[in-house]
Protein backbone atom coordinates (compact mmCIF):
# COMPACT_ATOMS: atom_id res chain seq x y z
CA UNK A 1 0.00 0.00 0.00
CA UNK A 2 1.38 3.45 -0.93
CA UNK A 3 0.71 6.66 1.00
CA UNK A 4 0.59 10.13 -0.56
CA UNK A 5 0.54 13.33 1.52
CA UNK A 6 -0.26 16.59 -0.30
CA UNK A 7 0.22 19.93 1.52
CA UNK A 8 -0.89 18.39 4.82
CA UNK A 9 -1.27 20.91 7.62
CA UNK A 10 -2.13 20.31 11.24
CA UNK A 11 -2.56 23.00 13.89
CA UNK A 12 -3.15 22.50 17.64
CA UNK A 13 -5.35 24.94 19.59
CA UNK A 14 -5.57 27.24 16.53
CA UNK A 15 -2.07 28.54 17.27
CA UNK A 16 0.60 25.85 17.33
CA UNK A 17 1.44 24.71 13.82
CA UNK A 18 2.62 21.11 14.17
CA UNK A 19 2.82 20.28 10.47
CA UNK A 20 2.79 23.10 7.95
CA UNK A 21 2.10 21.83 4.45
CA UNK A 22 3.92 18.50 4.18
CA UNK A 23 4.35 16.72 0.85
CA UNK A 24 5.55 13.14 1.09
CA UNK A 25 5.11 9.91 -0.82
CA UNK A 26 5.76 6.48 0.66
CA UNK A 27 5.75 3.75 -1.97
CA UNK A 28 4.32 0.26 -1.58
CA UNK A 29 6.69 -2.03 0.28
CA UNK A 30 8.94 0.73 1.61
CA UNK A 31 10.33 0.69 5.15
CA UNK A 32 10.42 4.37 6.11
CA UNK A 33 11.84 5.69 9.37
CA UNK A 34 10.62 9.10 10.56
CA UNK A 35 13.03 10.91 12.87
CA UNK A 36 13.05 14.25 14.58
CA UNK A 37 13.21 15.99 17.94
CA UNK A 38 10.38 15.69 20.49
CA UNK A 39 7.28 17.66 19.53
CA UNK A 40 8.16 17.91 15.84
CA UNK A 41 4.93 16.16 14.77
CA UNK A 42 6.12 12.60 14.12
CA UNK A 43 3.33 10.95 16.10
CA UNK A 44 0.73 13.40 14.77
CA UNK A 45 1.79 12.48 11.24
CA UNK A 46 1.35 8.79 12.02
CA UNK A 47 -2.07 9.33 13.60
CA UNK A 48 -3.23 11.26 10.53
CA UNK A 49 -2.05 8.50 8.19
CA UNK A 50 -4.00 6.00 10.34
CA UNK A 51 -7.06 8.30 10.10
CA UNK A 52 -7.11 8.65 13.88
CA UNK A 53 -6.71 12.43 13.43
CA UNK A 54 -7.81 14.73 10.61
CA UNK A 55 -5.48 17.19 8.87
CA UNK A 56 -6.70 20.80 9.05
CA UNK A 57 -5.98 21.14 5.35
CA UNK A 58 -4.36 19.11 2.60
CA UNK A 59 -4.95 15.50 1.73
CA UNK A 60 -3.72 12.05 2.71
CA UNK A 61 -4.43 9.29 0.22
CA UNK A 62 -3.67 5.59 0.33
CA UNK A 63 -3.31 3.53 -2.83
CA UNK A 64 -5.22 1.36 -3.46
CA UNK A 65 -7.96 3.45 -1.95
CA UNK A 66 -10.97 2.45 0.18
CA UNK A 67 -9.75 -0.89 1.54
CA UNK A 68 -10.89 -1.23 5.16
CA UNK A 69 -8.72 -2.50 7.99
CA UNK A 70 -5.56 -2.63 5.91
CA UNK A 71 -3.71 -0.39 8.35
CA UNK A 72 -2.29 -1.56 11.68
CA UNK A 73 -0.85 0.59 14.44
CA UNK A 74 1.71 -0.30 17.12
CA UNK A 75 1.88 2.15 20.02
CA UNK A 76 4.77 3.27 22.18
CA UNK A 77 3.78 0.85 24.93
CA UNK A 78 2.14 -2.51 24.34
CA UNK A 79 -1.32 -1.33 25.49
CA UNK A 80 -2.79 -4.81 25.83
CA UNK A 81 -6.14 -5.57 27.46
CA UNK A 82 -4.96 -6.87 30.86
CA UNK A 83 -8.07 -8.99 31.42
CA UNK A 84 -7.47 -11.02 28.27
CA UNK A 85 -4.87 -13.72 27.76
CA UNK A 86 -2.23 -13.50 25.03
CA UNK A 87 -4.29 -15.37 22.41
CA UNK A 88 -7.38 -13.20 22.95
CA UNK A 89 -5.30 -10.02 22.86
CA UNK A 90 -3.72 -10.98 19.57
CA UNK A 91 -7.14 -11.94 18.16
CA UNK A 92 -8.82 -8.66 19.24
CA UNK A 93 -8.70 -6.83 15.86
CA UNK A 94 -10.32 -9.82 14.12
CA UNK A 95 -13.00 -9.98 16.84
CA UNK A 96 -13.79 -6.30 16.28
CA UNK A 97 -13.95 -6.93 12.54
CA UNK A 98 -16.52 -9.70 13.12
CA UNK A 99 -14.43 -12.81 12.29
CA UNK A 100 -15.60 -16.15 13.74
CA UNK A 101 -13.93 -17.41 16.92
CA UNK A 102 -12.32 -20.41 15.20
CA UNK A 103 -10.94 -18.32 12.34
CA UNK A 104 -9.56 -15.56 14.57
CA UNK A 105 -7.93 -18.02 16.97
CA UNK A 106 -6.23 -19.74 14.06
CA UNK A 107 -4.90 -16.46 12.67
CA UNK A 108 -3.87 -15.18 16.11
CA UNK A 109 -1.93 -18.41 16.77
CA UNK A 110 -0.13 -17.94 13.45
CA UNK A 111 0.70 -14.29 14.23
CA UNK A 112 1.97 -15.20 17.71
CA UNK A 113 4.03 -17.97 16.18
CA UNK A 114 5.71 -15.41 13.91
CA UNK A 115 6.83 -13.34 16.90
CA UNK A 116 7.97 -16.41 18.87
CA UNK A 117 5.15 -16.54 21.40
CA UNK A 118 3.48 -19.84 20.49
CA UNK A 119 4.07 -21.21 24.01
CA UNK A 120 2.52 -18.27 25.94
CA UNK A 121 -1.02 -18.29 24.55
CA UNK A 122 -2.85 -18.63 27.87
CA UNK A 123 -0.74 -16.21 29.86
CA UNK A 124 -1.98 -12.79 30.94
CA UNK A 125 -0.13 -9.51 30.22
CA UNK A 126 0.78 -9.16 33.92
CA UNK A 127 2.69 -12.44 33.64
CA UNK A 128 4.82 -11.29 30.67
CA UNK A 129 8.06 -9.32 30.41
CA UNK A 130 8.08 -5.93 28.64
CA UNK A 131 9.61 -7.50 25.53
CA UNK A 132 6.98 -10.27 25.43
CA UNK A 133 4.18 -7.74 25.85
CA UNK A 134 5.53 -5.75 22.91
CA UNK A 135 5.69 -8.98 20.85
CA UNK A 136 1.99 -9.58 21.59
CA UNK A 137 1.31 -6.02 20.48
CA UNK A 138 3.20 -6.70 17.25
CA UNK A 139 1.27 -9.95 16.72
CA UNK A 140 -2.01 -8.06 17.31
CA UNK A 141 -0.99 -5.63 14.55
CA UNK A 142 0.03 -8.42 12.15
CA UNK A 143 -3.02 -10.61 12.71
CA UNK A 144 -5.11 -8.77 10.11
CA UNK A 145 -2.28 -9.14 7.56
CA UNK A 146 -2.11 -5.36 7.10
CA UNK A 147 -0.64 -3.77 4.02
CA UNK A 148 0.43 -0.70 5.96
CA UNK A 149 2.07 -1.02 9.39
CA UNK A 150 2.51 2.13 11.46
CA UNK A 151 4.78 2.01 14.50
CA UNK A 152 5.08 4.89 16.99
CA UNK A 153 8.36 4.42 18.90
CA UNK A 154 7.32 0.87 19.73
CA UNK A 155 10.52 -0.30 21.41
CA UNK A 156 11.46 2.93 23.21
CA UNK A 157 10.60 1.61 26.67
CA UNK A 158 12.53 -1.65 26.30
CA UNK A 159 16.08 -2.53 27.32
CA UNK A 160 18.71 -2.48 24.58
CA UNK A 161 19.16 -6.24 24.19
CA UNK A 162 15.40 -6.82 23.84
CA UNK A 163 15.25 -3.92 21.39
CA UNK A 164 18.02 -5.44 19.24
CA UNK A 165 16.11 -8.75 19.08
CA UNK A 166 12.86 -7.05 18.17
CA UNK A 167 14.57 -4.88 15.52
CA UNK A 168 15.85 -7.99 13.75
CA UNK A 169 12.47 -9.70 14.09
CA UNK A 170 10.58 -6.71 12.70
CA UNK A 171 12.93 -6.41 9.74
CA UNK A 172 12.49 -10.13 8.95
CA UNK A 173 8.72 -9.82 9.20
CA UNK A 174 8.75 -6.89 6.80
CA UNK A 175 10.91 -8.80 4.30
CA UNK A 176 8.67 -11.84 4.50
CA UNK A 177 5.39 -9.95 4.16
CA UNK A 178 6.32 -7.11 1.84
CA UNK A 179 4.05 -4.62 3.61
CA UNK A 180 4.69 -0.87 3.78
CA UNK A 181 6.14 0.17 7.14
CA UNK A 182 6.33 3.66 8.65
CA UNK A 183 8.40 3.62 11.83
CA UNK A 184 8.57 6.71 14.06
CA UNK A 185 11.56 6.75 16.37
CA UNK A 186 13.91 8.94 18.40
CA UNK A 187 16.74 6.51 17.90
CA UNK A 188 19.12 7.25 15.04
CA UNK A 189 20.74 3.80 15.33
CA UNK A 190 17.36 2.03 15.24
CA UNK A 191 16.21 4.06 12.22
CA UNK A 192 19.41 3.37 10.28
CA UNK A 193 19.39 -0.33 11.19
CA UNK A 194 15.77 -0.96 10.28
CA UNK A 195 14.73 1.29 7.43
CA UNK A 196 15.42 1.54 3.73
CA UNK A 197 14.60 5.21 3.73
CA UNK A 198 14.69 7.83 6.46
CA UNK A 199 12.99 11.19 6.76
CA UNK A 200 14.20 13.76 9.31
CA UNK A 201 11.66 16.39 10.41
CA UNK A 202 12.54 19.91 11.58
CA UNK A 203 11.87 20.97 15.18
CA UNK A 204 8.86 23.08 14.23
CA UNK A 205 6.33 22.95 11.42
CA UNK A 206 7.20 19.39 10.41
CA UNK A 207 9.38 20.51 7.46
CA UNK A 208 11.42 17.67 5.95
CA UNK A 209 15.12 18.41 6.53
CA UNK A 210 16.45 15.18 5.04
CA UNK A 211 14.89 12.48 2.89
CA UNK A 212 17.43 9.75 2.26
CA UNK A 213 17.59 6.22 0.84
CA UNK A 214 19.87 4.32 3.21
CA UNK A 215 22.71 2.53 1.43
CA UNK A 216 22.88 -0.63 3.47
CA UNK A 217 22.55 -4.37 2.72
CA UNK A 218 19.05 -5.82 2.47
CA UNK A 219 19.69 -8.44 5.15
CA UNK A 220 20.10 -6.76 8.52
CA UNK A 221 21.38 -8.72 11.49
CA UNK A 222 23.33 -7.84 14.61
CA UNK A 223 26.65 -8.10 12.70
CA UNK A 224 25.64 -4.98 10.79
CA UNK A 225 25.69 -2.97 14.04
CA UNK A 226 29.52 -2.78 13.85
CA UNK A 227 29.58 -2.05 10.10
CA UNK A 228 31.12 1.34 9.17
CA UNK A 229 28.38 1.88 6.54
CA UNK A 230 25.78 1.87 9.32
CA UNK A 231 27.92 4.34 11.26
CA UNK A 232 28.11 6.59 8.19
CA UNK A 233 24.30 6.57 7.77
CA UNK A 234 23.83 7.30 11.47
CA UNK A 235 26.20 10.27 11.27
CA UNK A 236 24.23 11.69 8.33
CA UNK A 237 20.90 11.32 10.14
CA UNK A 238 22.28 12.76 13.38
CA UNK A 239 23.78 15.69 11.47
CA UNK A 240 20.39 16.47 9.94
CA UNK A 241 18.65 16.31 13.34
CA UNK A 242 21.18 18.61 15.01
CA UNK A 243 21.44 21.02 12.07
Amino acid sequence: MAVQLDRVRRVFNNTHVVIAGMDLRIDTGEFLAVLGPSGCGKSTLLRMIAQLAEPDSGQIRTEPDGERFQTAFVFQDAHLLPWRDVLDNAALPLELMGESKARRDEKARAALDQVGLHDALDRYPAQLSGGMRMRVSLARALVTEPRLLLLDEPFAALDEITRFHLDVQLRELWQRRGMTVIFVTHSVSEAAFLANRAVVLARSGGAIKLDRILELPAVRNNELRGDPRLGQEMRLLLGAIEE
Binding site: R47, A50, Q51, L52, R68, F69, T71, A72, F73, F75, Q76, D77, H79, L81, P82, W83, L92, P93, E95, L96, M97, Y124, P125, A126, T144
Partner: protein
Amino acid sequence: MKKTLLPPLIPFAVLTLLAEFLVRQGFVRAYLVPAPSAVFRAMLDSRVELVQALLSTSAGSLAGFAMSALTGIAAAVLLSSSRGVQRAFYPYAIFFQTVPLIAVAPLLVIWFGFGIQTVIASAFVASVFPVIANTLSGILSTDPPLRDLFRLYGASPLVTLFKLRLPAALPQVFTGLRVSAGLAVIGAIVGEFIGGGGLGSVVDVARTQQRIDKVFAAVLLASLLGLALFGLINLLSHLTLRRWHASEQPD
Protein backbone atom coordinates in the same frame (compact mmCIF):
# COMPACT_ATOMS: atom_id res chain seq x y z
CA MET B 1 -7.37 -17.03 55.68
CA LYS B 2 -5.43 -17.21 58.95
CA LYS B 3 -3.29 -14.28 57.82
CA THR B 4 -6.37 -12.20 56.92
CA LEU B 5 -8.45 -12.89 60.04
CA LEU B 6 -5.85 -12.90 62.77
CA PRO B 7 -4.48 -9.31 62.57
CA PRO B 8 -7.85 -7.55 63.09
CA LEU B 9 -8.91 -10.09 65.77
CA ILE B 10 -5.96 -9.27 68.03
CA PRO B 11 -6.88 -5.57 68.63
CA PHE B 12 -10.54 -6.64 68.96
CA ALA B 13 -9.68 -9.08 71.75
CA VAL B 14 -7.41 -6.56 73.49
CA LEU B 15 -10.03 -3.76 73.35
CA THR B 16 -12.80 -6.11 74.55
CA LEU B 17 -10.74 -7.21 77.55
CA LEU B 18 -9.77 -3.61 78.31
CA ALA B 19 -13.40 -2.45 78.15
CA GLU B 20 -14.48 -5.32 80.43
CA PHE B 21 -11.77 -4.38 82.92
CA LEU B 22 -12.54 -0.63 82.85
CA VAL B 23 -16.31 -1.15 83.36
CA ARG B 24 -15.93 -3.79 86.11
CA GLN B 25 -13.46 -1.63 87.99
CA GLY B 26 -15.84 1.32 87.76
CA PHE B 27 -13.59 3.54 85.63
CA VAL B 28 -16.39 3.76 83.05
CA ARG B 29 -20.08 3.92 84.06
CA ALA B 30 -22.04 0.86 82.84
CA TYR B 31 -25.04 3.04 81.82
CA LEU B 32 -22.71 4.87 79.39
CA VAL B 33 -20.70 1.93 78.05
CA PRO B 34 -21.80 -1.57 79.02
CA ALA B 35 -19.29 -4.34 79.72
CA PRO B 36 -18.72 -6.60 76.69
CA SER B 37 -20.03 -9.52 78.78
CA ALA B 38 -23.31 -7.60 79.32
CA VAL B 39 -23.61 -6.98 75.56
CA PHE B 40 -23.03 -10.68 74.93
CA ARG B 41 -25.67 -11.55 77.51
CA ALA B 42 -28.14 -9.14 75.91
CA MET B 43 -27.44 -10.79 72.57
CA LEU B 44 -28.24 -14.20 74.01
CA ASP B 45 -31.34 -13.05 75.90
CA SER B 46 -32.81 -11.24 72.88
CA ARG B 47 -31.46 -13.59 70.23
CA VAL B 48 -34.78 -14.32 68.53
CA GLU B 49 -35.69 -10.64 68.28
CA LEU B 50 -32.16 -9.65 67.20
CA VAL B 51 -31.86 -12.37 64.54
CA GLN B 52 -35.23 -11.37 63.07
CA ALA B 53 -34.18 -7.71 63.10
CA LEU B 54 -30.84 -8.60 61.52
CA LEU B 55 -32.57 -10.53 58.74
CA SER B 56 -34.90 -7.61 58.09
CA THR B 57 -32.04 -5.06 58.01
CA SER B 58 -30.01 -7.42 55.77
CA ALA B 59 -32.89 -7.65 53.31
CA GLY B 60 -33.33 -3.85 53.21
CA SER B 61 -29.60 -3.19 52.93
CA LEU B 62 -29.05 -5.80 50.23
CA ALA B 63 -32.01 -4.64 48.16
CA GLY B 64 -30.95 -0.98 48.45
CA PHE B 65 -27.36 -1.89 47.66
CA ALA B 66 -28.35 -3.99 44.63
CA MET B 67 -30.47 -1.07 43.36
CA SER B 68 -27.52 1.29 43.87
CA ALA B 69 -25.15 -1.04 42.03
CA LEU B 70 -27.43 -1.49 39.02
CA THR B 71 -28.73 2.09 38.83
CA GLY B 72 -25.30 3.57 39.63
CA ILE B 73 -23.51 1.67 36.87
CA ALA B 74 -26.29 2.41 34.36
CA ALA B 75 -26.26 6.12 35.30
CA ALA B 76 -22.47 6.27 34.92
CA VAL B 77 -22.71 4.69 31.46
CA LEU B 78 -25.31 7.28 30.43
CA LEU B 79 -23.29 10.16 31.91
CA SER B 80 -20.18 8.98 30.07
CA SER B 81 -21.96 9.13 26.71
CA SER B 82 -21.23 12.84 26.21
CA ARG B 83 -19.81 15.88 27.96
CA GLY B 84 -23.17 17.63 27.48
CA VAL B 85 -25.08 14.87 29.28
CA GLN B 86 -22.48 14.95 32.06
CA ARG B 87 -22.76 18.71 32.52
CA ALA B 88 -26.57 18.52 32.56
CA PHE B 89 -27.06 15.59 34.92
CA TYR B 90 -23.97 15.06 37.08
CA PRO B 91 -24.97 17.81 39.56
CA TYR B 92 -28.16 15.82 40.24
CA ALA B 93 -26.06 12.72 40.96
CA ILE B 94 -24.06 14.78 43.49
CA PHE B 95 -27.40 15.53 45.17
CA PHE B 96 -27.44 11.95 46.45
CA GLN B 97 -24.15 12.51 48.26
CA THR B 98 -25.02 15.84 49.78
CA VAL B 99 -28.61 15.15 50.79
CA PRO B 100 -28.97 15.02 54.63
CA LEU B 101 -30.47 11.55 54.83
CA ILE B 102 -31.85 11.92 58.36
CA ALA B 103 -33.82 14.98 57.22
CA VAL B 104 -35.12 13.29 54.07
CA ALA B 105 -36.10 10.00 55.73
CA PRO B 106 -39.52 11.33 56.93
CA LEU B 107 -40.25 12.27 53.32
CA LEU B 108 -39.45 8.73 52.27
CA VAL B 109 -42.05 7.45 54.75
CA ILE B 110 -44.61 9.83 53.23
CA TRP B 111 -43.77 8.60 49.73
CA PHE B 112 -43.30 4.88 50.39
CA GLY B 113 -45.17 4.28 53.67
CA PHE B 114 -43.97 2.42 56.78
CA GLY B 115 -42.02 -0.77 56.15
CA ILE B 116 -39.32 -2.27 54.01
CA GLN B 117 -39.90 0.04 50.99
CA THR B 118 -38.75 3.07 52.97
CA VAL B 119 -35.73 1.15 54.29
CA ILE B 120 -34.72 0.13 50.75
CA ALA B 121 -35.20 3.69 49.45
CA SER B 122 -33.10 5.08 52.29
CA ALA B 123 -30.32 2.51 51.70
CA PHE B 124 -30.42 3.39 48.00
CA VAL B 125 -30.19 7.19 48.53
CA ALA B 126 -27.26 6.72 50.93
CA SER B 127 -25.26 4.36 48.73
CA VAL B 128 -25.80 5.21 45.07
CA PHE B 129 -23.37 8.11 44.62
CA PRO B 130 -20.05 6.27 45.19
CA VAL B 131 -21.05 3.75 42.49
CA ILE B 132 -21.86 6.52 40.00
CA ALA B 133 -18.75 8.58 40.75
CA ASN B 134 -16.27 5.69 40.69
CA THR B 135 -17.76 3.95 37.66
CA LEU B 136 -17.86 7.21 35.72
CA SER B 137 -14.26 7.98 36.61
CA GLY B 138 -13.25 4.46 35.51
CA ILE B 139 -15.09 4.69 32.18
CA LEU B 140 -13.67 8.14 31.42
CA SER B 141 -10.09 7.16 32.15
CA THR B 142 -9.89 4.40 29.53
CA ASP B 143 -6.43 4.28 27.97
CA PRO B 144 -6.56 6.61 24.87
CA PRO B 145 -4.38 4.36 22.65
CA LEU B 146 -6.79 1.49 23.33
CA ARG B 147 -9.68 3.71 22.29
CA ASP B 148 -7.72 4.48 19.12
CA LEU B 149 -7.21 0.78 18.53
CA PHE B 150 -10.94 0.10 18.75
CA ARG B 151 -11.63 2.99 16.36
CA LEU B 152 -9.03 1.70 13.92
CA TYR B 153 -10.89 -1.59 13.59
CA GLY B 154 -14.32 0.03 13.29
CA ALA B 155 -15.74 -0.88 16.73
CA SER B 156 -19.14 0.72 17.45
CA PRO B 157 -19.61 2.77 20.67
CA LEU B 158 -21.60 -0.14 22.16
CA VAL B 159 -18.87 -2.68 21.37
CA THR B 160 -16.25 -0.28 22.78
CA LEU B 161 -18.33 0.11 25.93
CA PHE B 162 -18.72 -3.61 26.61
CA LYS B 163 -15.35 -4.88 25.39
CA LEU B 164 -13.15 -2.02 26.56
CA ARG B 165 -14.57 0.76 28.72
CA LEU B 166 -16.59 -1.26 31.24
CA PRO B 167 -13.99 -4.01 31.76
CA ALA B 168 -11.27 -1.35 32.13
CA ALA B 169 -13.43 0.45 34.71
CA LEU B 170 -14.00 -2.69 36.84
CA PRO B 171 -11.34 -1.93 39.49
CA GLN B 172 -12.95 1.45 40.11
CA VAL B 173 -16.46 -0.03 40.01
CA PHE B 174 -15.44 -2.36 42.84
CA THR B 175 -13.97 0.58 44.80
CA GLY B 176 -17.35 2.31 44.51
CA LEU B 177 -19.21 -0.86 45.54
CA ARG B 178 -17.00 -1.29 48.63
CA VAL B 179 -17.82 2.24 49.85
CA SER B 180 -21.44 1.82 48.86
CA ALA B 181 -21.84 -1.46 50.82
CA GLY B 182 -21.16 0.23 54.17
CA LEU B 183 -23.33 3.21 53.30
CA ALA B 184 -26.24 0.93 52.33
CA VAL B 185 -26.31 -0.52 55.87
CA ILE B 186 -26.17 2.98 57.39
CA GLY B 187 -28.97 4.09 55.06
CA ALA B 188 -31.09 1.06 55.99
CA ILE B 189 -30.68 1.74 59.73
CA VAL B 190 -31.66 5.40 59.24
CA GLY B 191 -34.69 4.24 57.22
CA GLU B 192 -35.66 1.85 60.03
CA PHE B 193 -35.48 4.62 62.63
CA ILE B 194 -38.27 6.39 60.79
CA GLY B 195 -39.96 3.64 58.80
CA GLY B 196 -39.81 0.95 61.48
CA GLY B 197 -38.49 -2.63 61.65
CA GLY B 198 -35.03 -4.17 61.76
CA LEU B 199 -32.04 -3.27 63.90
CA GLY B 200 -32.85 0.45 63.61
CA SER B 201 -36.10 -0.11 65.52
CA VAL B 202 -34.37 -2.33 68.08
CA VAL B 203 -31.85 0.47 68.75
CA ASP B 204 -34.61 3.08 68.95
CA VAL B 205 -36.79 1.08 71.38
CA ALA B 206 -33.86 -0.13 73.55
CA ARG B 207 -32.63 3.47 73.82
CA THR B 208 -35.98 4.63 75.21
CA GLN B 209 -35.89 1.68 77.71
CA GLN B 210 -32.36 2.63 78.85
CA ARG B 211 -31.20 -0.84 77.64
CA ILE B 212 -27.76 0.37 76.60
CA ASP B 213 -26.45 -3.24 76.45
CA LYS B 214 -29.12 -4.10 73.86
CA VAL B 215 -28.34 -0.92 71.87
CA PHE B 216 -24.70 -2.03 71.72
CA ALA B 217 -25.73 -5.56 70.72
CA ALA B 218 -27.83 -4.23 67.83
CA VAL B 219 -25.11 -1.78 66.73
CA LEU B 220 -22.55 -4.60 66.79
CA LEU B 221 -24.79 -6.74 64.57
CA ALA B 222 -25.28 -3.83 62.15
CA SER B 223 -21.51 -3.39 61.93
CA LEU B 224 -21.05 -7.11 61.32
CA LEU B 225 -23.63 -6.87 58.53
CA GLY B 226 -21.63 -4.01 56.94
CA LEU B 227 -18.45 -6.07 57.26
CA ALA B 228 -20.11 -9.09 55.67
CA LEU B 229 -21.28 -7.02 52.70
CA PHE B 230 -17.81 -5.50 52.37
CA GLY B 231 -16.32 -9.02 52.48
CA LEU B 232 -18.73 -10.19 49.78
CA ILE B 233 -17.63 -7.34 47.47
CA ASN B 234 -13.99 -8.10 48.22
CA LEU B 235 -14.54 -11.73 47.28
CA LEU B 236 -16.27 -10.77 44.01
CA SER B 237 -13.48 -8.29 43.26
CA HIS B 238 -10.85 -10.94 43.92
CA LEU B 239 -12.56 -13.50 41.68
CA THR B 240 -12.96 -10.97 38.87
CA LEU B 241 -9.63 -9.14 38.99
CA ARG B 242 -7.16 -11.66 40.40
CA ARG B 243 -5.58 -12.51 37.06
CA TRP B 244 -4.94 -9.01 35.84
CA HIS B 245 -5.17 -6.19 38.35
CA ALA B 246 -2.36 -5.28 40.73
CA SER B 247 -4.81 -4.65 43.61
CA GLU B 248 -5.76 -8.35 43.67
CA GLN B 249 -2.36 -9.89 43.13
CA PRO B 250 0.08 -11.08 45.78
CA ASP B 251 2.83 -8.61 46.75
